[in-house]
Structure formats: structure tokens, C-alpha cells
Symmetry: C2
Subunit: 283 residues, 2 copies
DNA sequence: TAGTGGTCTAGACCACGTG
DNA sequence: ACGTGGTCTAGACCACTAT
């Protein structure tokens, strides 16, 4: 509750108006002059300038990241945030609108605004695009083959924006859908963020892996970028997925990012797409 | 344009809210005359509730669809629309916000709001996700193999939401990137929407196919849904793409929709992904 | 009944693009 | 200088949820 934001402005300059303590620059002076309750100042068109609501959004994001409000929890109401940051409710609303659009929070009328979590059904399938030809999408059973700590190879390091040789955790696993081995994953995680992750923990955990990461390691996957190709199964993949060598497989190379667009995971998946397909919507 | 018309609302009263009255309150015509400016008067607006801005959004969409404002053109300013629909500027703004989020229009500060078009670079690559390993994304050279009118097979008809045997246009083509045959497309279009489409027209056209459809046939692709698999090249595909039979290819089955979520195109593509990959972002 | 987000309005000023 | 979208504020009422 370190509220009292007072200013986070860098160089407030007295000037036109005040919208609060933030460094805005724009703004509006509503109506008659308001006796500034707080030493409010306003910025001159600063070289670096961002709309007030963007600054509020950044502040809220920071609190999300720091864990002040945890996944599943409700964040303060718009009114509360407005008074904390000394801006109008409408400005807070616009900030939250964007956060909701990015799926960082979810609004529920009559209840409040909640931090999204990978435990929710809605969120789960944002990162699992493999859909069965028949039946509903679901999470398969995970069989962990391996989970060990090692030094990052050059290419993984590059993707994770770390140095070659830095510590990473490698996981290999097979996903079973309806009794059929369908996905072979090879995963690299930032070593620093996943101290204490073991094959045992992965095996015991029921549910999406990202939910475990979020709950146990405080690392939340926000977005991911995938490169998809068709490849032929090599001997290893063929054995683990029970398909002939040379069978066409979907290769999905994913980099996942957490707050601040920092990459924390690289994942290479091989999907058997005879009874499943990868679903994508262009809009 | 004089605008005035088509009020769908009762008068927005300062003190009392009217949103409910609008949709439900059918008869709540403010009063005087309503010269039906647009062909869509909106007699019994709604069987169900819908926020005012959603109704405005629907009206704007209808004008987009009817061609009142064509791709590339500017739509009336927020103020104009506000006065035309007899709502506040803020309400129009919220309607346009959503249309912009759906990529139906694009706002440009200081200039106006414009109907998006498939001629724009930005839009082009929303529907072309194949990216070269090296170099910038670009549109390849299209080689049309075939373009003929025929009766829809059962499955295509189902996807297009028409009856088996209804008229469709079938196109087959190969896309060349840097001199290499990379994509083999088989396309079915709603016959009713594409009268007069010939192989010649397709061949003469330089640029994205969707831009031709938009300019010549008034059919705009708004969104699409894709199902992606890895498959083995059969003899035909192997010949046309110059790869060995059995090579892994990316199979992309797309259904494209125009206004009102009406399907107008089914497309089956086979991609060679040795020097290209399918790019996708999860968020 | 109280609290939360959702909608709507009204008016002010700012930044951008164009004459 | 003017018009357009962009930001900000303030206050009112509505709809949903929980107590």
C-alpha cells in the first residue's frame, strides 16, 4: 500500500493544467480551476511523453509484476485506483481496458477486475492450439521423460536473450491424447526463474504446465510467438510418438514471454496431426 | 449529406438515461418526422438488449457493407456520425474503437477514419503468414493453373453454408517465392459473389488476390479460420512443387468470412516449409 | 442494500495533418 | 486557421453480484 503516488514525474513543469501527479502532458482541465489538492504540476510537452492512461497502465502492470495482486485475485476498484493515482476514473478505465485486451486482467461486471491465471479454462487454450478432429479440446496426460539443468547452447541462449553457457532447465515430455502419443516437447527454461524445478514436481502436477510455473515459480507467460513447419519424423521422434520414420509432423517452435516482453521459455514441439489439427484464427 | 435521420433513439435526455429505451423502447420515437435517410430505418430495432454503441456499430457496419463508404475512403467524422445518429460523440467513438480493433477501419490522427483495404501493406500480411527464413515477407508470383465454375461438392458446400451442387468458382494456383514453387492453393469461392472471374483476370492482376476480390467483386475478406496439419506430398503436389513424393508439407485449410460472418471462400493450401515458416503469435 | 464494472453524455484541451 | 482524432475529466444512471 505504498500509495501516495505523488509524482512519478520526472520533470513536472508548471504549466497548463494538472491532472494529477503524473507526468502527463495533455489533459484537460475540466472546468473551472480546481484548487489542486496536491502539489500538482503539469508537464510541459516533454520530449518523452506518453498519455496519462499509458502511465497508469504501466504502474498497474508493475504492481501485477511485483505480485502486489496475484493471479486470481481482484485488483482494486477503478475508483480506488483513480484516487491512488490521482486521476479520474475514466482514465483508469482506459488503462484497464488495454490490460484486459491483452488478457492480463479480466473484468467481471458486478464483481471486480481480476488478474488472469493459467488455471482458467479460457486462458488455458490460448496456448494450446491443438484441437481433436472429434470431441472437445482438452489437456492430455503429460509423461515427463527428462528434466535437468544444463548450460544453454548458443541458439537457445540467443532466443532467451542470455549468454551461451548460462544455466537453463531442459524438459522433455510426451503428451497423450486419448491414449495416443501426440506431442513431443523439448523445453528450455530460464535457469534463474526456475530453481528447484524437478521431474517429480512436473509429474505430480495435474494441469497445464504454465499453471505450475505461475503458482510455484511466479513466472507468468503473457504471450508467445510460434514458427510452424512440416517436418519428417526422425528415429527418436518416431519411436516416442509411435509413427513410422519419415511421417510428416508439425514442428512448432515457440518462444514465450513474461512481463516486459522478456523471453523465459523456448519450446520445440512435434505434433502428430492425423487426428488433431492446429487451430488458428486470422483477424 | 444532411444527415439527420435515422434516429434509433429516443432523445438522449440529460438527466435520465435512455439506453434501455432505445432498443427496447421501440415506439419511443422522439417525435417529429424521421425522414429515413438510409434504407435501414430500424423499425423494431431489437428483440434483445444491446448497448447504444453496439447499435451504432451495427449501423456503421451496415454502411460499410452496403458500400456507402468504400475501401480506402474516409468515413464521416465522429461529430458527423454523432449528429446523424443522434448520440454523443463519445458513443460513436466507442463504436469506432471496436471497428478499429476488428480492423474494419483505421484511424489516422489529424486526418480521419478510413475503411481498411487489402491494398495496404499492413493488412496484406494479416492473411499471409508464410515468412521466409531470410529476407522480408513478400508476395510471391502467382501462377494460375485453372479457374472454372462448377457445382459445389458436399464438403465445400457445407463449409460455405450453401447447398451441394450450388455454383462455385474453383481456382488452382502455385505461388513462387524467389523462383521456388512454395505454395499450391486450391480455392473455392461462392459462385454468386464472383460472377465473371476468369483465369485471365487472375493472371493479369498484380497484387494480393484479396485486393482483386475487394476491388472487382465488392467482396471483402474480414476474417478467416485455419486448420493446420502436416501431410505427405502426393504425386500431384510433388510435381507441382518440385519436391519428392512423400515430402512433409504444411496443409492449411482456410475458411474466409465477409461481413456478417458469412463464409465466402474455402482454401486448401500446401506449403513447402524448408525455406519458409508459418508465423503465429499467441496472446 | 452496497459495491463493482458498463454505458452515456458533455465539454475542454492537445497533437496532428492540411490548407 | 481549421478540422480530425486523441486524451482527460466529471457526473449520472444502468446492470450485475453479493450480502
Amino acid at each position: 500500500m505504498s500509495s501516495l503516488p505523488t509524482s512519478l514525474t520526472g520533470a513536472p513543469a508548471p504549466g497548463a493544467q494538472d491532472s494529477g501527479a503524473i507526468t502527463a502532458g495533455v489533459g484537460a482541465q475540466p472546468s473551472p480551476s480546481q484548487p489542486p489538492a496536491a502539489p500538482a504540476v503539469h508537464a510541459v510537452p516533454s520530449p518523452t511523453f506518453s498519455p496519462l492512461y499509458q502511465q497508469i497502465k504501466a504502474l498497474i502492470t508493475r504492481s501485477l509484476q511485483s505480485g502486489e495482486w496475484k493471479p486470481g485475485e481482484m485488483i482494486p476498484s477503478e475508483m480506488e485506483l483513480a484516487s491512488r493515482y490521482k486521476v479520474s476514473q475514466g482514465t483508469v478505465r482506459k488503462a484497464i481496458d488495454e490490460l484486459a485486451a491483452e488478457n492480463l486482467v479480466a473484468r467481471r461486471q458486478g464483481k471486480g477486475t481480476f488478474v488472469t491465471t493459467h488455471h482458467e479454462d479460457v486462458v488455458k487454450f490460448r496456448f494450446l492450439r491443438l484441437v481433436p478432429d472429434e470431441g472437445e479440446p482438452h489437456y492430455g496426460a503429460s509423461h515427463v521423460l527428462e528434466c535437468k539443468r544444463l548450460r544453454a547452447p548458443a541458439e537457445i541462449a540467443r532466443l532467451l536473450d542470455i549468454r551461451t553457457g548460462d544455466s537453463v532447465v531442459q524438459i522433455r515430455r510426451v503428451l497423450n491424447f486419448s491414449g495416443e502419443s501426440t506431442v513431443l516437447d523439448e523445453i528450455w527454461l530460464l535457469g534463474a526463474n526456475f530453481k528447484g524445478l524437478t521431474a517429480e514436481k512436473l509429474t505430480e502436477w495435474k494441469g497445464p504446465m504454465y499453471a505450475l510455473f505461475e503458482a510455484e515459480f511466479g513466472t507468468r507467460m503473457i504471450r508467445a510467438s510460434e514458427k510452424i513447419r512440416a517436418v519428417a519424423a526422425d528415429q527418436t521422434a518416431a519411436d516416442l510418438l509411435s509413427v513410422p520414420v519419415g511421417s510428416p509432423l508439425l514442428s512448432v517452435e515457440r518462444v514465450s514471454y513474461t512481463y516486459g516482453d522478456r523471453p523465459v521459455e523456448v519450446r520445440r514441439g512435434l505434433y502428430v496431426t492425423t487426428r488433431h489439427y492446429y487451430q488458428n484464427d486470422l483477424s
